[in-house]
């Protein structure tokens, strides 16, 4: 079923307050084969110039997934999650978040386009800000929703 583009663009995705946790960063490091001490050991992180364990470059995407039901907006658009593929992902960095930081994420669906054979591309943008309101990172996802075969 085709996504209702107007409904998607009008979606009000609630802001997400995300806390960066040391344990979660260590788990992410282990799961991604990251063994460098500055990503798992606080003293090593500080020696490397970070305030605490640094958020690795792609972990901002995982912060988005701390929402109670991060795929709820897709369900609201009547998308079958089994048909969703991750097509593209980008990050821009304005600052460096570390463990202990409380960040706010604002997300919005910015585009839905229909490709061949009913395939649809949904683009979502997210900004990550610190408590002072300063931008830490911007990220964007393109989700590919495969058509009924």
């Amino acid at each position: 079923m085709a996504i209702d583009r107007e409904a998607a663009l009008a979606l009000e995705l609630p802001p997400l307050e995300a806390e960066v946790e040391r344990g979660a960063l260590r788990f992410f490091a282990r799961a991604t084969g990251e063994e460098r001490p500055e990503y798992v050991d606080v003293a090593a992180a500080r020696a490397a110039g970070f305030r605490d364990l640094p958020v690795p470059p792609t972990y901002y995407f995982s912060l988005e997934l701390q929402a109670a039901d991060p795929f709820a907006f897709l369900t609201d658009l009547e998308v079958d999650l089994r048909r969703v593929l991750h097509g593209e992902q980008w990050f821009e960095y304005a600052g460096q978040a570390c463990a202990g930081d409380r960040l706010t994420l604002h997300s919005r669906v910015v585009d839905v386009v229909t490709k061949r054979a009913g395939m649809e591309l949904l683009t979502k943008h997210t900004s990550v800000t610190d408590p002072s309101g300063a931008l830490v990172s911007r990220l964007g996802s393109v989700l590919v929703i495969r058509g009924e075969s």
């Binding site: 979660a24 788990f27 992410f28 282990r30 799961a31 991604t32 084969g33 990251e34 460098r36 110039g49 640094p54 690795p56 470059p57 792609t58 995407f61 995982s62 988005e64 997934l65 701390q66 991060p70 795929f71 999650l81 089994r82 048909r83 969703v84 593929l85 991750h86 097509g87 593209e88 992902q89 980008w90 990050f91 821009e92 960095y93 460096q96 075969s149």
Partner: protein, 134 residues
């Protein structure tokens, strides 16, 4: 390696990062650690119900590997942007190799073309990083 790194020469290749083959345990750990609990990556029953033969790896796992390639070559605080297109599925047991090559240096920023390739030659991810020069 860091002492020898050159950030400003077009054509410079980053030292390749050869990852471990992706096991089902890897996928279970990454699902938990990344917060991506989409069952298509860990639950064979769900994968089959979607018409697939097996589960497949999260694209973001490969992008996490690729970010390791970049940040072990240039410190993370120099990374300005990282982007990727997921162009092919990564099957279970596949072994990803991450590579990168400087393609441009302009206005104090190096652009690095990135790729993740499996042992059979399949390119699963293409990407770009931009890195500020010190």
């Amino acid at each position: 390696m860091t002492a020898e790194a050159t950030y400003d020469t077009v054509g410079t290749e980053l030292p390749a990062l050869v990852c471990e083959p992706i096991s089902r345990t890897t996928l279970a750990l990454f699902a938990g650690a990344s917060g991506d609990h989409n069952p298509i990556h860990v639950d064979l029953d769900v994968a089959r119900s979607a018409g697939l033969e097996d589960v497949f790896a999260h694209g973001m796992l490969s992008l996490a590997y690729l970010s390791r390639l970049v940040t072990r070559w240039a410190p993370q605080d120099r990374l300005r942007s990282l982007s990727a297109r997921f162009v092919a599925i990564t099957p279970v047991h596949a072994r990803p190799t991450c590579t990168g090559r400087i393609t441009a240096v302009e206005n104090g920023v190096a652009t690095v073309a990135l790729a993740v390739t499996l042992d059979d030659g399949t390119v699963t991810l293409t990407g770009t990083a931009t890195i500020g020069l010190a």
